[in-house]
Structures are given as structure tokens and as C-alpha cells.
Amino acid sequence: MMMNKGKQIFVTGLILMLFAIAGAAMVALTYEGTAAQIAENERHAMLRSLNQILPAERYDNELIDDTITLAADERLGHAEQSTAYIARKNNQVVAIIFSVFATDGYSGIIKLLVGINTDGTLAGVRVVSHKETPGLGDAIETKRSDWVLGFNHKSLQDPDSSGWHVKRDGGIFDQFSGATITPRAVVKAVHHSLLYFASHKKDLTGSVSHE
């Protein structure tokens, strides 16, 4: 009787184990089959957003592989290291694209890509992901409105620091009807990345320009 019970438990456990192995094998095989494609998709999606900021004819390097790792900096919104993409033409740095987190949005972090030309003007700003209210705060997406294109060619001199606010706070950038917090957070994040660039310009454009 005891033996029987032990055997039964053993067989049942064995069945469970066989299914666990089969399930794991299926997932592993699918992962093997799709990993390359997924990595390629992510690369492609990243390159697409980078190219929205910086058209492909403005650089001739492998933008997506030419990265530097930046130490954590409050102005970029990163509590840990972040990656920046360096665009070069004829081995000269033409622009740097930063990954910037705007941390004081309405809900969660707004992830941005901020492209800054070496002369200190903005090449462009794009929202990578956000959780702002649909219909109100999501006008920061290019799909919903042209608002974010208003940053193009702006710099620390144009407008000066008093202008780097939304209109309600006395600045030059529009807020959205019903949503001020979201554009305020984005304006602040872009302004801060310009300040970061200004204070690190030598390191970023000079010492790293050799391949």
C-alpha cells in the first residue's frame, strides 16, 4: 500500500516534469527563432526615431552604434547612466542625440529623444513613450499635433532662460487646452538638456570625435 502511494506520487511528479520540460523547450525554441528578428525590429524602431530628429543625409556614421555612456545627471532626468547617440559627418561631430526623461509629467516618466546640433541649437525633440492622458497630454506626440516641432532650431539664446517656459508661466511655448503639466514638463526637460549640453560641450564634441 505504502509502496503504491509512493509510486503514484512519483509518476504524477514525472508527468508534471515532462510537461515542464516540453513547455520550456517550446518557449526556448521560439525564443531562438525570434531573438534576431526582435533585436532587428528594436534597432529599426530606434533608428526610425533617430532619423526623425536627424535626417539620414546629415550624418554618415552608424548612428545607432556610435554611442557614449553618460554618467547619471539630474538635468537629463536619469538616476542611472544613459546613452547618447553621436552623429558625425566626415568624422566631425554634427549633433548629439540624448535620451532624456521628463520626470514631472502628469503620470509617469515621459521618455524623450533630444537632438542638439554642435552649435547649440536643437535639431529636434521626439517623445519615445509616455503615459499622459489620452486626448489631453498626448498632443506631445507628433501623431497628435505639431507642438513638439516648435522646439526645432531653438537654443539657450533663443529664447533666453525666461522664455523657456509655457506661456502660462510667462514663456514662449504653448500649453494645451486642459493640460499644462505635460508641456511644462517637456519644456523643462528640453531646457535642462540644453544646459547639460552647454556645460559638457567640450567633452561631448571634442575629445570623443576621433574614432
Binding site: V11, T12, I15, L16, F19, A20, A22, G23, A24, M26, V27, T30, Y31, G33, T34, Q37, I38, N41, E42, H44, A45, T133, P134, G135, L136
Partner: protein, 229 residues
């Protein structure tokens, strides 16, 4: 199995025992992703596929699994299938995958899948189980698409926006703008809109059911009178 049984299975899945409208299962993804027709369709098809695959595999192995461990085995099967689908979507429908995000792995927690495995597939042959999974999934997808359509139409004034996420570049201009210059009704897009919309659909189904049963009762009465006459 006779044809009548298959009809019964289909009717069950699509109407009488609809996952979303009658069993009220899988509400978390149902309410969360139905902002547009395409999002609803995407999650619906993924769920349908999971149901068909899990029902057929559970039915295939139903004689080998001991009753004591059947639930963990079912969960194992469902989780493996969903992970496989998630990886495949990430590889071949990357943009749609980005939109549906967390809700694809959450298909595992859709109780309807485990419920169909336990209540139907573990007791029936492979083909009926497959059809049951398909019909249950189709019923779920229909509700997702209908709710997505309602919310998209009221909330944004369009239908089939972002169809290229699912059907590729040819579908980029499939978007139907129903109301021009429509500013949108925020309520429909936000979560409360999902609850209100689902409530309306359930109410609609109940009205139809009531009419049908009334008509049936009347028919019975008529034949009864004829018999007396």
C-alpha cells in the same frame, strides 16, 4: 459528434455563453485595450489563437494527465503558448506589440482560457475542443472589436485608425474619418468609457435575448391554440 453538437458549441461560444458578455471573464485586457478597433482586433486574435491551441493541446493529453496535477499542467501549457505568441508578435508585428504591450502576457490570466481547458477540452475529443476554443475566441474578439469601434467612433470620430500596425503598409490609409473636424469625446477613450460601452453592449444583448424568448413563448402558445382548435 453530430452537426447539431457543433452548432451548439458555436452558439455557446458566440452568444449564449459569450466569454465577455455572459461569463464576464478577461475584463482586464478587454477594458484596457479597446480604445480602437485595431487594438481590440489585435488582442482578440491573440486570445483566439491561444484558446484554439490550448484547447487542442489539453484535449490531446487528456488521458495522460492525472487529475491531481491537471491544473498545474494546464497552466503550464497555457503559459508556454502565450509566451510563444508574445515572442512571435514581437518579431512579426512589432508595432502592434508595442501598442498592446503588457496585455499580451496577461492573456495567461484570462480565466476563460483555463475555464475552457477544464470544463470542455479535458473532457472532449480534439476537434470539438478546437472548435470550442475557436468559437469562444471569436465571441470574445467580436466584443473587443465592437467595443473598440464604439469607443473609437465616439472618442475620436474615426474607425480603423492605425490599421497598418496589423495589416502592413497597404492599410495605412484605411482609416475612415466618420466625423470631420471632430474634437473627440475624452470620456469614451478613458477607462470609464470602456465600462459604459461594455454595459451598453450587455444591455443590448439582454434586450435581444428577451425579445427572442418572448417570440418563442408566443410561437409555443400559437401552436398550442391550433392544436386545441
Amino acid at each position: 459528434m453530430s452537426n447539431a453538437d457543433y452548432n451548439e458549441i458555436s452558439k455557446n461560444g458566440l452568444w449564449t455563453n459569450n466569454v465577455a458578455l455572459v461569463q464576464l471573464l478577461g475584463l482586464c485586457p478587454l477594458l484596457a485595450v479597446t480604445g480602437t478597433v485595431i487594438n481590440g482586433l489585435g488582442l482578440g486574435v491573440a486570445t483566439l489563437l491561444t484558446l484554439v491551441l490550448s484547447n487542442s493541446s489539453v484535449s490531446l493529453i487528456r488521458h495522460w494527465v492525472r487529475p491531481e496535477v491537471r491544473v498545474p499542467v494546464f497552466v503550464l501549457i497555457i503559459a508556454s503558448i502565450v509566451t510563444t505568441i508574445e515572442l512571435s508578435m514581437n518579431a512579426w508585428f512589432h508595432d502592434l506589440y508595442n501598442v498592446l504591450g503588457i496585455f499580451i502576457p496577461l492573456i495567461v490570466t484570462n480565466c476563460s482560457i483555463l475555464a475552457r481547458a477544464e470544463a470542455f477540452a479535458s473532457k472532449n475529443k480534439v476537434l470539438p475542443s478546437m472548435i470550442d476554443g475557436f468559437m469562444m475566441g471569436l465571441g470574445f474578439t467580436a466584443v473587443l472589436v465592437l467595443l473598440g469601434g464604439m469607443r473609437e467612433l465616439v472618442g475620436r470620430g474615426t474607425l480603423l485608425a492605425d490599421a497598418h500596425l496589423m495589416f502592413g503598409e497597404v492599410a495605412r490609409n484605411w482609416t475612415l474619418v466618420i466625423f470631420d473636424d471632430y474634437t473627440g469625446l475624452l470620456l469614451a477613450i478613458l477607462p470609464p468609457g470602456a465600462f459604459i460601452g461594455l454595459g451598453l453592449i450587455i444591455a443590448g444583448k439582454n434586450i435581444i435575448d428577451k425579445r427572442l424568448s418572448k417570440r418563442q413563448a408566443q410561437a409555443v402558445q400559437n401552436t398550442g391554440q391550433e392544436a386545441i382548435a
